[in-house]
């Protein structure tokens, strides 16, 4: 068992196991920090979404909380002008190639982007940037779910679930830059891939990209 440490987050004292990543410690104690790519079980997080920044006393710049192991006596602030600015920009960058139409989205009301917007008082629309969205076709081939690449934030949670939970290897990241997306081999429809439709990836997806179909009786 690792040692218990006491740290302070936004003035609140919390105890946690030494070395646990700050993001999960905060979330476990009901303190919200925006996050999309973070995976609790992953030892070396990708830290690619750049949403989970916090200020730590003694560190010159904001740091990503998903990569930060907690230490005894650590003093953390989840908000500051610098943190807010970083989060606002990263958030708008994500929206700049996102099909924003929550009313027509299968995750409306259960979406992590909506949650971040609400928690941080951010708008779910572009204000400073223009949209770079190039509409890509939705893969509707599986029986139980669909994949809408236009709403994918490339967080990698589905790929992790496919490998580590389902242990299949049906999906991965393909191409690069603006063309990057989650796909099966040869970008063939998921129904023609090794996918077994266990829905592990669908459960992992924080947004409206992998969505379970409404099941009819």
């Amino acid at each position: 068992m690792s040692r218990q440490v006491t740290i302070t987050i936004d003035g609140q004292q919390v105890t946690a196991a030494e070395g646990d990543k700050l993001l999960w410690v905060a979330l476990d104690h009901g303190i919200y920090i925006p996050h999309l790519c973070g995976i609790r079980e992953k030892e070396h997080p990708d830290a690619s979404c750049r949403l989970c920044f916090v200020e730590v006393e003694g560190l010159p710049n904001p740091v990503t909380s998903c990569t930060l192991p907690v230490k005894e006596g650590m003093v953390v602030r989840t908000r500051s002008e610098r943190v807010d600015r970083l989060v606002r920009t990263a958030f708008e960058l994500l929206l700049s190639n996102h099909r924003l139409s929550c009313a027509k989205c299968g995750k409306n009301g259960r979406c992590e982007l909506q949650k971040i917007a609400q928690e941080r008082g951010l708008k779910l629309k572009l204000t400073r940037m223009r949209s770079l969205l190039v509409e890509k076709p939705v893969d509707d081939s599986p029986e139980k779910f669909y994949y809408d690449p236009n709403r994918c934030v490339l967080c990698g949670r589905c790929v992790w679930a496919d490998r580590e939970k389902a242990k299949i290897g049906a999906i991965g990241f393909v191409r690069r830059g603006m063309d990057r997306r989650v796909a099966a081999f040869w970008e063939q429809p998921l129904a023609d891939s090794p996918c077994i439709e266990c829905l592990a990836c669908v459960e992992a997806c924080p947004v409206g990209a992998l969505v379970a179909k409404e099941m009819k009786e």
Binding site: I168, G169, A170, I171, G172, F173, V174, R175, R176, A183, A184, F185, W186, E187, S193, P194
Partner: protein, 173 residues
Amino acid sequence: MEIEITAEEREAIKTTVAEALEKNSYRRDRLLPILQEVQGRLGYLPREAMEQIASSLKIPEVDVYSVATFYNQFRLNPPGEHQIKVCMGTACHMAGGHIIMDSFARRLNIKEGETTPDRKFSLERVACVGCCALAPVVVVNENVEGKVRPTRVDGILMALGKEIGKKNEEEKR
């Protein structure tokens, strides 16, 4: 668009991949050199080659595809008899390189990175060929065409033996 491959080609793919794997001791961390070897000998990475590599290395097929589509060096389609490379470097991009790309794509009825089913033409993007003053630039086989306008596209293709007239009739409908 899938390109048909002959039984002979299929055999060649099999042996080439087997040799590339052998040479790299079937090591997963040698995936990149394996892909380079296969492309070096076949000119591209056929789907069958990627499937064979994945099953031999016991990794998901999508992982091979993921690497092959990440690096611009790799191509998924056989090079055409005539290779058309549209420059997308900064200067050509600013001068409308993507419009030239679109014109070729429409004329050849393939997308960037693809090869026509008769394997006469392949279309790809390149990043700066080093003569930015001539932007937008297209390299046709080994010849540089400068200051290309969409209206030149038909001429370039016709010089390479493409029958444009017929296509026009079809399009007018």
